[in-house]
């Protein structure tokens, strides 16, 4: 398995609180992605990174920010969590844009 660690694996938080999810990789891959998975929607891209300090928005980026200060770490922050952000969040990595994605095990986030 690709070396991808997501933390925490599960989190319950209250509306309005900030939340940060971490993705750590040991593969030295250039590209890192944050997806959310919701029933009936498949996976939707939130943000992605194509290098240290290089990030861009995906299709559902509102309410989320990201940072990548090191190749191995990609952080996803919900500045003020809302109930609509209750979801399973997956980090993925790839060596190139046309290369296959390797996925982490996911973070189950519940916003009450």
């Amino acid at each position: 398995d690709a070396g991808i660690t997501q933390s925490p694996r599960h989190k319950v938080t209250e509306t309005g609180t900030p939340v940060t999810l971490r993705c750590h990789q040991t593969e030295n891959h250039r590209y890192m992605y944050w997806y959310r998975q919701d029933p009936g929607h498949g996976l939707r891209l939130i943000h992605y990174s194509y290098g240290v300090k290089d990030t861009d928005k995906g299709e559902v980026s509102d309410g989320y920010s990201v940072s990548r200060s090191k190749t191995e770490d990609f952080l996803l922050t919900l500045e003020s969590a809302t109930s609509s952000q209750t979801s399973v969040y997956f980090c993925a990595i790839s060596a190139g844009v046309s290369e296959k994605l390797f996925f982490g095990s996911g973070t189950q986030l519940s916003v009450l």
């Binding site: 498949g42 861009d56 993925a92």
Partner: protein
């Protein structure tokens, strides 16, 4: 623009019978197409990938898919289902040279003993 439609949200088969999971796509560019599998409480794993080298693509665990440009389809098949194949399957399209992948909504495969 690109999109992908998985024609069945749920497919149920008996162990030992063939599996067919259907996927249609649209893309403004010559697409790359993927099938990913997700077992319960796990991340997604690549089954196979089409990138124009051959229209019939073989993947892991006995799965294969055929790219049919005239039908804009990329259906996933397996001759004989195993209990361990029970999972959710996602068809994914990538058009052009950018990062953007578009995921289908998934097909849940149930395998009955």
């Amino acid at each position: 623009a690109q999109s992908v439609t998985q024609l069945d949200s749920h497919v149920s088969v008996s162990e030992g019978t063939p599996v067919l999971l259907r996927c249609n796509y649209s893309s403004s560019y010559s697409p790359s197409l993927f099938w990913y599998v997700q077992h319960p409480n796990k991340g997604l794993q690549l089954l196979l990938k089409y990138t124009s080298a051959a229209t019939l693509v073989k993947g892991i665990n006995g799965f294969e898919a055929e790219f049919k440009k005239s039908e804009t389809s990329f259906h996933l098949t397996k001759p004989s289902a195993h209990m361990s194949d029970a999972a959710e399957y996602f068809c994914v399209v990538k058009g052009g040279s950018n990062y953007k992948l578009t995921f289908g909504k998934g097909t849940l495969l149930t395998v009955n003993p």
